[in-house]
Each structure stands twice: as structure tokens, then as C-alpha cells.
């Protein structure tokens, strides 16, 4: 890759031969190999959604249209732990009502995002399930080339949230490129 070779030549212009190899080995935490430097081909995109997302971001749909032939998987997760607490502290009916309300909201949100993406010819898949908003994303994410994360993802206070702790933690823990919006 021309860009990579130029960069290495500039950064290590006073280093020759095997010395560079030993530096690369010793400082591998800071140096990318040529293979690692190559941007991923973005074919699969994960877009997690939840109750904290109050509106569709047209600008994100527009941005994702840059990845021709990529498929976006929309995932809406309802917090299983909260529904269990409601069931335990109130009753089963209250817990089921909680889940139903969240899933109704999720269905509308997924519809809106699907429309936003499809209108730009971006194919979509959708999933909705009860689970752990953070752990499940960490488990699923390795199957995708790019993760696109709402800033207040998993926040319990979306109205007053600037960015959620879960969004920061996920963005820093994932191993694939991530867009936070």
C-alpha cells in the first residue's frame, strides 16, 4: 500500500534493515503492520437502537449510503434485567406490559430507520430481543465490519443525556471501526 510505505519511510527514515523489524516487534503496540493499516471493506453494519433514541438521524442514513453494497442490521434491545425486576417487584403482568410498551416503541423506531435507509437504497435487516444492551452488542459486534452507535445508547435519561457511559464504554471496547452519533 503506497500510503503505508510512504508513512513508514517518513517515520523511520533514519532506521535501516533489520533495525526497523526489531523496532516494529518491540513497539508493536504503537505500530500497525501494512495489513492492519488497510481500512476494512465495509459490507456489514450494525446499528443498535433502544429507548434512548428518540428520532431518526437522516445524516447518519446519508453517511451510511457511502458504503455501497453494505447491509445494515438494526437491533433493538429491551433490557431484560429491568423487566425481571418489574416482574419480581410488581407482578408478571406489569413486566409483560413493560416489554410490550418497549417493543411497540422499538417497532416504530425500526420502521422509521428502515425507511430512512431504504430510501437511500441501503438494504436492512432487523432484530428485536430482550437482553443486555451492552454485553449483547459486544457479543454480536465481531460479525460486523462497522458499528454505528447512538450517543445516548442505553441511557435511562435520554432527555438530559449528552453521552451515555455505555456508549463510551462500547465505543472504546469494540474492535471494529465505530461511528458514534
Amino acid at each position: 500500500m503506497r500510503y503505508y510505505q510512504g508513512l513508514i519511510k517518513r517515520k523511520f527514515k533514519d532506521v535501516v534493515g533489520s533495525k526497523y523489524e526489531s523496532i516494529q516487534k518491540e513497539y508493536s503496540d504503537y505500530i500497525l503492520t501494512e495489513e492492519e493499516m488497510r481500512p476494512r471493506e465495509i459490507k456489514t453494519i450494525l446499528l443498535p437502537l433502544d429507548f434512548s433514541v428518540t428520532e431518526v438521524s437522516e445524516s447518519i442514513c446519508e453517511l451510511l449510503s457511502a458504503y455501497e453494497n453494505a447491509t445494515v442490521t438494526l437491533i433493538f434491545i429491551t433490557d431484560a434485567q429491568i423487566s425481571e425486576i418489574i416482574m419480581a417487584s410488581l407482578d408478571k403482568e406489569a413486566g409483560e406490559e413493560f416489554i410490550q410498551k418497549k417493543e411497540d416503541y422499538g417497532t416504530r423506531l425500526l420502521d422509521d430507520y428502515e425507511h430512512c435507509l431504504n430510501s437511500r437504497s441501503i438494504p436492512c435487516m432487523r432484530r428485536m430481543f430482550l437482553g443486555n444492551k451492552q454485553q449483547d452488542i459486544l457479543k454480536i459486534a465481531p460479525d460486523f465490519d462497522l458499528v454505528v452507535l447512538p450517543k445516548c445508547y442505553a441511557s435511562n435519561h435520554p432527555d438530559s443525556c449528552a453521552v451515555s457511559g455505555d456508549a463510551i464504554l462500547l465505543a472504546q471496547s469494540l474492535t471494529q471501526p465505530t461511528i458514534v452519533f
Binding site: 453517511l63 465505543a171 472504546q172 471501526p177 452519533f181
Partner: protein
């Protein structure tokens, strides 16, 4: 949509530039390469060197030498990346400013109508840790941030 690419000298930020290039090619957008020189970096490098090497009598010399090298290095880097982007027919400009990285980036991002900010996921830190700038930026910015890995 205009893209702001944050270059901090790390290879991750260069990888970010390559991701930005692809988006810019596809969306036919303008790119601004942006770098912040922070005097505190040269100060801390000089201080660490002097305290580790027991040669603190020349700390001011170290600091000014490091500062000169940082300036030269980022100017050279910018020029090369700019050349590369222009060869790829992407309308690109570059800016180097002095100050606090988070403050200058937020100022730039908010005042010039960007649609995306691209940065390396690890900055100049080892890949085992995150980019310490990210939480500060994402807390303030209204623009999507792309973290390159």
C-alpha cells in the same frame, strides 16, 4: 458534508485518514486535515526525559528542541497527506493550530459545518488503551465521530 480528519501523528490517525478518503471519494465531499500542537506535550516529554536521565540542567533546551521537532514533524506529515489526498482528487485543505487539543478540535468542529469527524481509536496511546480525547470530544460534539480501527 465536510469531513474533519484529526491527525495526531499516530498510525491510527493515518488509518482514519484512509477511511475518510473512501467516504470522501464516494460522497464527493471536501476534507480538512486538522492537527493541534500542544505545548504541554513538549513540556511533559522534556520533563520526563530530564528526570529519567538526571540531566535537568538543560531542560529548557530539550523542551525547545522537542517543540521544534514536533512542529516540523506535523508540518511534514500534513504536507504528505495533503499531497496524497490531492492526487486522489479529493478537495482537501489542512490546518495546524496551537493550543489544547480538545478545545481546539471542538472549536473547529462547531464553527465550520462539518458532517463527520474522523479520528484514530487509540491516538498516540498503545492499542491496549483507548483514545483519551474521545470522551471529551463526544461529550461536547453534535457531529458524528468515526473511530478508526
Amino acid at each position: 458534508m465536510k469531513i474533519l480528519v484529526l491527525l495526531d501523528g499516530s498510525m491510527w490517525s493515518h488509518k482514519g485518514a484512509l477511511y475518510a478518503l473512501r467516504i470522501a471519494q464516494e460522497k464527493k465531499t471536501e476534507v480538512v486535515l486538522f492537527s493541534v500542537l500542544d505545548k504541554r506535550d513538549s513540556k511533559s516529554m522534556a520533563f520526563n526525559f530530564c528526570t529519567q536521565s538526571d540531566m535537568c540542567s538543560r531542560i529548557e533546551n530539550y523542551e525547545s528542541q522537542i517543540w521544534r521537532d514536533m512542529r516540523k514533524n506535523i508540518n511534514d506529515e500534513m504536507a504528505q497527506v495533503l499531497l496524497f489526498f490531492n492526487r486522489e482528487k479529493i478537495s482537501t485543505t489542512s490546518k495546524i493550530v496551537e493550543g489544547s487539543a480538545s478545545e481546539e478540535i471542538i472549536r473547529e468542529a462547531e464553527s465550520n459545518g462539518y458532517g463527520l469527524i474522523v479520528m484514530g481509536a487509540y491516538g498516540r496511546n498503545p492499542r491496549s488503551s483507548g483514545n483519551s480525547l474521545f470522551p471529551k470530544l463526544i461529550n461536547k460534539l453534535q457531529v458524528p465521530v468515526f473511530m478508526a480501527r
